[in-house]
Amino acid sequence: MKRRKKSVLLPGVFTAVLLLAACGDDPLESSEGKAEILNVSYDPTRELYVEFNKAFANHWKEQTGQDVTFQQSHGGSGKQGRAVIDGLEADVVTLALAYDIDEMAHTRQLLNEDWQTEFEHNSSPYTSTMVFLVRKGNPKGIKDWDDLVRDEVSVITPNPKTSGGARWNYLAAWGYADKKFNGDEEQIKSFMKQLFGNVEVLDSGARGSTTTFVEREIGDVLIAWENEAYLSINELGVDEFEIVTPSLSILAEPPVAVVDKVVDKKGTREVAESYLEYLYSDEGQEIAAKNYYRPRNEEILKKYSDQFQSLDLITIEDFGGWQEAQKTHFADGGTFDEIYQ
């Protein structure tokens, strides 16, 4: 009997030890004396933050003598936002849409509802817009949004339900149609329906779409972030693609924010705030411009003016802000669902 008692314990103890080992060996534990920042970001900012993190680490070391290391997480904006809400302890978030950060404020009060006033320019240190990437020589002669609804044109864009960039794409197209048809909703919807009827592959994220267009050679035109379009040209084929800037597009403002509840717990508020602040510095703006994001700083923008064509830009305010836009267009039963029915 005694022996059996002992034997009951053995597998249980072993299990417990292994589980404890799993919990104890937590790779996310920050080491002492050093600041560690987790920046949860969206897909196309990988290259930007690799460069910027280095620059800021140097800057911070000079200023305070403290070493700061960075952890980066990238993915679709919605996926990343969800991870933060579910407990991914990001010190700062740098996402594609204000909506995703709003959601953090609503559901878990991770930060203040007025987070967007925390930093200049709606807390968006850099902007971008939506442009077209076409194959070399522009064989289909694509100039503007009108060409995208032509029957023989095949379009690649990610899914607005999952991709932040795709929502900007959608709203840019909607904005164009709105202007063209003087706000006649029926005609706008039929335009959008035609446009999405031409979409061949609807990837879940901006990066997936670029891969489909560039690597799989599917589609005549990719609607993409301007920075993403430049990046693909330079990384994947200088002689294979061209950028076409439409007559009208949307001012995409990817926002940044400090996650109050996390930095207060981890004691990283100071460095996290300086980190985002530094995005507005000359060096930060320069790095943004080098990575094809439009800097807010006018002088630096001028310096890179041949890279950034000027065009008519509508803003998210034309749609009544993200909460409104989300409800009308992207929530279940919104206009996006309608055009797919």
Binding site: S7, V8, G81, T107, L202, I218
Partner: protein
């Protein structure tokens, strides 16, 4: 869980019943049952009409049809080719047979994401295989079927193979001596013997295919109503912060899984009983 735990009448002298069963139940509850119950628990926060609206939404319904249809098609392909492969591996000798036999397990061992990327590369219009076809394979339901065929193949081969090995030659000889042609013997004698194994293999492959995600997202194209599988709908809902919606769809999938597993087990009980009677 209402298991009536009763030692059988004829008391066994083997020790450890309480311990092993207790540990099994505990571990099962912590790792599987408690987590899975969360799906149902979360769904209860919806009203019945909300629940119905979510799961009967046209996009969701289209995804059930797609997931079901492609899993079915892949299952059928695997039944046909898997049975042929099992037959070839058991009955014939040819050079390289051992390698072929080992290769069948590849989909078990190869990570699904790797398989997905490799298949998408091969079957996309500019891929090694895709370029030879006038129509698109990757990014259509056809691509999904290919990924699911890849995933499901070993299930059919590995369930049919042992049965085929144990199948004595006596009945075939009897059939032949009674004047049946080879084809008749095959259709009337061998296939019925293999049927339970084929159905089990099919159901296993089918069950696995219904929920498959990693390999499919890379090759599916993910178009709403057209190439959007049910697990992707769950992911999409999650990324829109619609947890309740995601769990509602998950409930539907879970119930489907339960039913399938039950079916598989019933077939197995039936087969086991049949053989223990013989």
């Amino acid at each position: 869980m209402e298991l009536t735990l009763k030692k059988r009448k004829k008391n066994t002298i083997i020790p450890g019943f309480t311990m092993t069963l207790g540990y099994t139940m505990l571990y099962l509850s912590i790792i599987v049952l408690l987590p899975l119950s969360m799906v149902f628990f979360n769904t209860f926060s919806m009203s019945w009409s909300e629940f119905w609206q979510t799961i009967a939404h046209p996009r969701a319904v289209a995804s059930y049809k797609l997931s079901f249809g492609t899993a079915l098609a892949a299952g059928v392909i695997n039944v046909i080719f898997g049975t042929i492969i099992a037959w070839v591996l058991v009955r014939y000798q040819f050079p390289g047979k051992r390698i072929v036999d080992g290769l069948v397990d590849l989909p078990f061992a190869l990570p699904t994401a790797v398989a997905g990327i490799a298949l998408a590369t091969l079957y996309s219009p500019n891929g090694w295989v895709g370029q030879f076809f006038d129509f698109k394979i990757a990014f259509t339901p056809l691509g999904i079927i290919i990924a699911l065929t890849f995933i499901g193949l070993p299930f059919v081969v590995r369930t049919v193979q042992p049965v085929l090995q144990n199948l004595g030659s006596e009945i075939e000889e009897a059939s032949a001596s009674l004047g049946a042609t080879r084809l008749q013997t095959f259709a009337k004698v061998i296939i019925p013997e293999l049927l339970p194994a084929i159905i089990t293999g099919f159901s296993l492959a089918f069950a696995r295919s219904l929920g498959e995600y990693g390999s499919v997202v890379f090759i599916a194209g993910n178009m709403p109503m057209k190439t959007e599988i049910t697990p992707l709908i769950i992911m999409t809902k999650l990324e829109q912060y619609d947890y309740v919606g995601a769990t509602a769809i998950a409930t539907v999938m879970l119930v489907a899984s339960f039913i399938l597993l039950l079916l598989i087990n019933i077939i197995q009980w039936y087969t086991n009983r049949k053989f223990s009677l013989q």
